[in-house]
Symmetry: C2
Amino acid sequence: MNELRIFTPATIANISCGFDVLGLALDTVGDEMTIRKVKKKGIRITKITGQNIPTETHKNVAGVAALALLSEIECDFGFEIEINKKIKPGSGIGSSAASSAGVVWAINELLHKPFNTIDLVRFAMEGERLATGVAHADNVAPALFGGFTLVRSYEPLDIISIHTPNELYATIIHPQIEVKTADARNILKTTVSLKDAIKQWGNVGGLISGLYTEDYDLIGRSLEDHIVEPIRSILIPAFNLVKQQSLLAGALGCGISGSGPSIFALSKGKKTALKVAKSMKLVYDEIAIDYDIHVSKVNKQGIKIL
Amino acid sequence: MNELRIFTPATIANISCGFDVLGLALDTVGDEMTIRKVKKKGIRITKITGQNIPTETHKNVAGVAALALLSEIECDFGFEIEINKKIKPGSGIGSSAASSAGVVWAINELLHKPFNTIDLVRFAMEGERLATGVAHADNVAPALFGGFTLVRSYEPLDIISIHTPNELYATIIHPQIEVKTADARNILKTTVSLKDAIKQWGNVGGLISGLYTEDYDLIGRSLEDHIVEPIRSILIPAFNLVKQQSLLAGALGCGISGSGPSIFALSKGKKTALKVAKSMKLVYDEIAIDYDIHVSKVNKQGIKIL
């Protein structure tokens, strides 16, 4: 096997109460990539379609992630990367993470798996460092593990794969506005009240418990964010109305995807997720904001060979 | 059935990262109570042994909890309560909670269960209000539900019973000093850094996940408290040394029980829990601090009929 064509998923990070620790992978939104083993050493990006992003290896998140992997293994050959970029950068659903995770996963397969998934997360995080300045794991982890993942700790890196119920669907609406990650970060306070923090970890406990027991009501009750959402949501047009309408349409919960501007809702079953999509669209149609919208089952597998 | 004799367990609240939300019930430490249905209406405490605590119904936590229950049901008879108080008040292992939970559980049984367990938690919380000024649920919930419990939210009251692995044992050492709950509360800061809060809810997620998957290593890695323990532990003699020695003896994790002064450790298996007890004792023997020590399996059942 000298070539792999893969689907590498978009992801939702910062799932409500799980700010900075909880993410999930999507099934119907993601990049397509082809990774080819070639004689010439090193990493080359040979083709990019879909989006206008850098092709220089050192400036491309997939290139940087691939180099991080190669720096830890002797390799007397190299790899070519083709990216069909279907996730818009800046959308808040892990565009850079999908490419970073995809490339290291595929190279690891082509090398007959010398690295474990935690290693791959570590390499892909270097792509995130290039994209955002911070080597965070909350998008690359679900892309690589699939399903829900928890980044329990960075030092040491400890990623927990969380049981994911079968009937969980995500609806994501991406208003076509730009929220700079730096702005979304700077707007946050560096301290929080102990009272709110306790509510937040109570909800994290409830959410994880709900996922293991497949208790959709508990998942819904726990999808609350007392700390980040009240602040960041002011950067997203009509966030409160979108959320309100999603819940009225039957969503279990609704929050900001990543650092926005995308808004996600989780629902039990595809039918409800589609109803939620309709109600989200209505809000943005009313105030004439352009958007992309996605409905996807939570992807338990992660990256897939096409 | 007009009379019940019960064992009502001591509990560990504030389990490391789960400050204010996570508790567990013990198996070998608890109060014994006899609750008797009598013709005369109302609640009377007829006998207290073991500790010197108030017998007036309104001044006794069990009395107050029982009255809270009776206020929500028509009852043309009453109850007598005998308490054999085996848990020392002020020890940090839920002394008041055991009596409050026990009495409402037993009365509910004698009334053929008109109330659900959440109702019973609500009534027992009134005992906690009398004891500490705050109607908290983190000790009464595990006493009533058994095993590990999560207080996800107070408004509305939402208690989640968490899967409890079979081989989990607790070791608790109670140094014979007084830490006033008010002091333990006042010493806390009202704000925390967002960075520490994120670590904390990452660990809560890891701990809950470890409990469901019976991953003892993950439970151990997650038993960290970046927020409360560093502050409160200064009120407890040789806390750091006791913790260090417990971990060296094989404990999965170690922290402050409730608001102290008791220190708990969790271990996989009784053998390790006994080894941990030995190592804890050695520390206090060395510095001549009196103590009680307990080793107990985590009690999955909660209150039991004797």
